[in-house]
Symmetry: C2
Subunit: 222 residues, 2 copies
């Protein structure tokens, strides 16, 4: 790891590559060829270096992906107009983040970070926590509320993205259909009732509905 504030001007061998250059090249590879094609070797050759040289600027591939996510967030997250109604403010902030993340599905492997801690995302966290406080929650409960919203949001994206990946990869969907076709209406009547509609129902985008329900519930709990 390079020290941001070195005591001397330059000490030791001068670097030929930088963290910024790595992220930049990685971003180009991802946008041009997809995240699957982003390998440490390819990244190294495209940047004109060797694979192991990257590891002096990045701890491992996962950190590189986190950095890419941060970069993406900083680059595309634009602060929307914020409504005065605090409840709507929460919804807008969460929806904006969700929208941005859902638009780049390759982040799934990184999204399991326990928070979005990109500096550019913090503003959205602030909006959510502040909205919850303004609606009467204590600061502590507001943080918990934000966490619940984050769990819901991250879960939605991860689950949806993984399902899409599996669907593209093979036909395991067939297995699920089989399970639903073989349901015993006596044991699981409700599921049998909706069995044939399950696929289209779960394909619908109901993020906003669930989010509103969650926010409503968080605000009415005393």
């Amino acid at each position: 790891m390079p020290q941001p504030s070195a005591p001397r001007k330059t000490l030791g061998r001068p670097p030929r590559i930088s963290r910024e250059a790595i992220i930049e090249t990685a971003r180009r590879i991802v946008t041009e060829a997809g995240v699957d094609r982003l390998t440490m070797r390819r990244l190294a050759t495209e940047i004109g270096s060797t694979p192991m040289a990257l590891y002096h600027h990045v701890r491992d591939k996962e950190e590189l992906l986190v950095l890419l996510l941060d970069d993406y967030a900083t680059r595309t997250l634009r602060r929307p107009e914020i409504p005065v109604d605090p409840r709507e403010r929460i919804v807008v902030a969460a929806t904006t983040i969700h929208q941005a993340l859902a638009a780049c599905p390759w982040i799934v492997e990184v999204l399991t970070a326990d928070d979005l801690m990109s500096t550019s995302a913090l503003w959205f966290v602030e909006q959510i926590v502040d909205g919850l406080v303004e609606c009467g929650l204590s600061p502590d409960r507001a943080v918990h509320g934000y966490r619940a919203i984050w769990y819901y949001t991250a879960g939605e994206i991860v689950v949806r993205a993984t399902a899409a990946r599996r669907r593209a990869h093979d036909d395991r969907a067939t297995y699920r259909e089989q399970v639903f076709a073989d349901l015993d209406p006596n044991e699981l009547p409700r599921l049998a009732q909706v069995a044939d509609r399950w696929a289209p129902l779960t394909a619908q985008d109901t993020y906003l509905d669930g989010l509103r329900a969650l926010v409503d519930g968080l605000l009415t709990s005393r």
Copy 2:
């Protein structure tokens, strides 16, 4: 893939290993040595075979993990006493699943399945959907409600488990602390206000609170 209903008695070379034996051995390895130590090579040698032989019984490692999760669910998920109040029924069903999954954190990589479709888990899905319907939701909205609950539940587990893994792996937590220490109280007042309490606050287990809020919100939405 072995055909469950072969036309003839046995045709072709008789198998030396079976899917069940693979799962059994894999389970033993995971419980004894952890999921990290479960490699196709080790599994093969411990079962007395070769890595590629496994691939005639299992599509890939991910499917093996899904099968392991199914096996785990079937083995440990016990149906709890179900309250008569439908709202409580939903909460109990979701909490039971959450508890079981949270107890075996290695599933994180699999948990991104878009549903828990283990047969033994379907009963819990039924309880949730049925509870929502009994509270007045249409079947379609009940399915959406179940999905919201699943997003929240899966998100909570994935986020928490990943955070724990990172914490054990290295000191990226320090980075987060740094972010919170450097907060500008003018720009992000609420976050600055709770900055020093953020770590303990987010460490608390508030799954049940969030779940109740979500269920309440789902049921009061018309």
